[in-house]
């Protein structure tokens, strides 16, 4: 890659070239002078000084003009090359953008058909198994009813799986407009959404009053906190009542929201894996689920420019946190 003529290095090179030219001109004239003095009688040689001066200026000017032309030509060629490269680059970027747009559209079409076309047969499986149980339950024997019940359960599980997968893929596609969001309101909304679930588990959820505000995408944040809370009340030892604490601490322009549970805890070896999609540390019979909840937490928070983490030990419960920008930059850390 050549330097452009405008760069300081190129300027210095051009000056060097000019000096070399001047030197060459001077040398040429000196040689001419010596030769003429040898050839001509001394009386005529005395008149040469004026002509020598004129010739020196003309030769120097001519050489400088030629050099100038040459450097302009080089400059033009470089510019043309740069323009061509820029055009090629723009064309490549446009091509890649079109490709990406196409695969995004395909992904959208795919998840659309997942949400629509996969659910329709699922509704039939669930609905008709249910109908079988309700309308013909007394003519079925015990194992017949058991089979139908398993159909219903499997359909529910698959429904949850499709829902979580869609939510996860939508997190990547949704445009995130970040606005100030009151964490207190978010947690309240999540508790409302989980009311039945919390009551069924007799879970005790203690939320710190006056939670701060953060910069976030409201629906995504609700989804994130919902999955955090769901995770917190789910992994309790058999017979244990879930107890969850939700609190926040501001730190240097950021806010950390903590969700602490009294669950079975996570071995430090597995702590990174719990955020990966479909990673499950326990069999579906003990802790049923899709294995996507915490991936939604991480993907969602990362799309809002934040971080997630946890601290946990086996048998001592877990403390998950998410960190987002504070909506109140003036607040002291």
């Amino acid at each position: 890659m050549e330097q452009t003529p405008r760069s300081p290095a190129a300027g210095a090179a051009a000056r060097t070239v000019a000096f070399v030219y001047l030197g060459v001109a001077l040398l040429f004239l000196t040689i001419l002078d010596v030769v003429l003095h040898r050839l001509l009688p001394p009386a005529q040689a005395g008149n040469l000084s004026l002509w020598k001066g004129v010739a020196f200026i003309l030769v120097s000017a001519g050489l400088l003009y030629l050099e100038r032309r040459r450097s302009e030509e080089r400059h033009r060629r470089l510019q043309e090359m740069e323009e061509r490269q820029a055009q090629e680059l723009a064309a490549r970027v446009a091509e890649r953008t079109a490709e990406l747009e196409q695969s995004r559209a395909e992904l959208e079409a795919f998840s659309y058909s997942v949400s629509h076309d996969l659910r329709a047969p699922l509704r039939a499986v669930e609905g008709f198994s249910q109908a079988l149980l309700e309308d013909y339950g007394d003519t079925l024997d015990e194992s017949g009813r058991d089979y139908a019940e398993r159909l219903v359960l499997a359909a529910h599980n698959m429904d949850a799986l499709i829902r979580d997968l869609l939510a996860y893929s939508q997190l990547s596609r949704t445009e995130m407009t970040l606005v100030p969001v009151d964490l207190g309101q978010v947690v309240a909304e999540v508790r409302r959404a989980m009311e039945a679930e919390l009551a069924e588990k007799k879970a005790r959820v203690v939320v710190e009053p006056n939670l701060p505000s953060v910069i976030a995408h409201p629906t995504t944040l609700v989804q994130v906190v919902l999955n955090l809370l769901r995770n917190a009340v789910k992994f309790v030892a058999p017979g244990e009542v879930p107890r969850v604490q939700v609190y926040a601490s501001p730190q240097a322009g950021k806010v950390r929201l903590y969700v602490r549970d009294n669950g079975i805890g996570i071995d430090p070896r597995h702590q990174e894996r719990v955020f990966l999609p479909f990673e499950r540390l326990h069999g579906a019979d003990r802790y049923p689920g899709t294995g996507i909840g915490l991936s939604i937490v991480r993907r969602g928070v990362e799309r809002m420019g934040g971080k997630v983490g946890l601290r946990s030990a086996v048998g001592e419960g877990s403390r998950f946190w998410i960190e987002l920008r504070s909506a109140d930059p003036g607040a002291k850390a």
Binding site: Y112, S115, H116, D117, R119, A120, P121, L122, R123, A124, E126, G127, F128, Q130, A131, A155, H156, D159, L166
Partner: protein, 152 residues
């Protein structure tokens, strides 16, 4: 309990059967009429084709409209309906599988009165049918039914 007619526009026979069963369980089975594609829905509402007899095919008090339909999509049926001088106030509840924001927005833009996603669980469907009936046929004030059109 109401004896108003509800028009269900739904092409999937499984869904038709399940929704019919939900209506029956909710004690509303007698009020349901079914159109299995968009054109049939338009014919029914306009009283054309085989639907001219309003004693057999009463004008509905409510339409439950699927979006993915053969011949004319639910969105097209909705657009057509809102364009009819005498029919356009008819309450329409979209009942579909799609949770896509583009489908939801478009349906409301075209004048849908509500948008519901068919649940997988039959019990949830039963709840939904009961809530829809209670809200749209018992609680909400409805627009005047159109006067009978002259036969075409």
């Amino acid at each position: 309990m109401s004896i108003e007619t509800i028009l269900l526009v739904e092409d999937n026979p499984d869904d038709v059967l399940l929704i019919k069963r939900a209506f029956k369980k909710a004690g509303l089975g007698h009020s349901l009429q079914v159109a299995t594609h968009g054109e049939e829905a338009v014919d029914y509402l306009a009283g054309g084709g085989g639907f001219a007899d309003r004693d057999k095919h009463p004008f509905p008090a409510l339409v439950l409209l699927d979006l993915q339909l053969p011949r004319r999509s639910g969105h097209e049926v909705l657009a057509w309906l809102r364009d009819q001088e005498d029919l356009r106030r008819l309450p329409v509840v979209v009942l579909t599988s799609s949770r896509e924001p583009s489908d939801i927005n478009r349906a409301y833009d075209l004048g849908a009165n509500s948008y519901l996603v068919k649940p997988v669980s039959f019990d949830a469907l039963l709840d939904m049918v009961q809530v829809v009936e209670r809200y749209w046929l018992a609680l909400a004030e409805r627009p005047e039914a159109p006067r009978a059109r002259p036969p075409r």
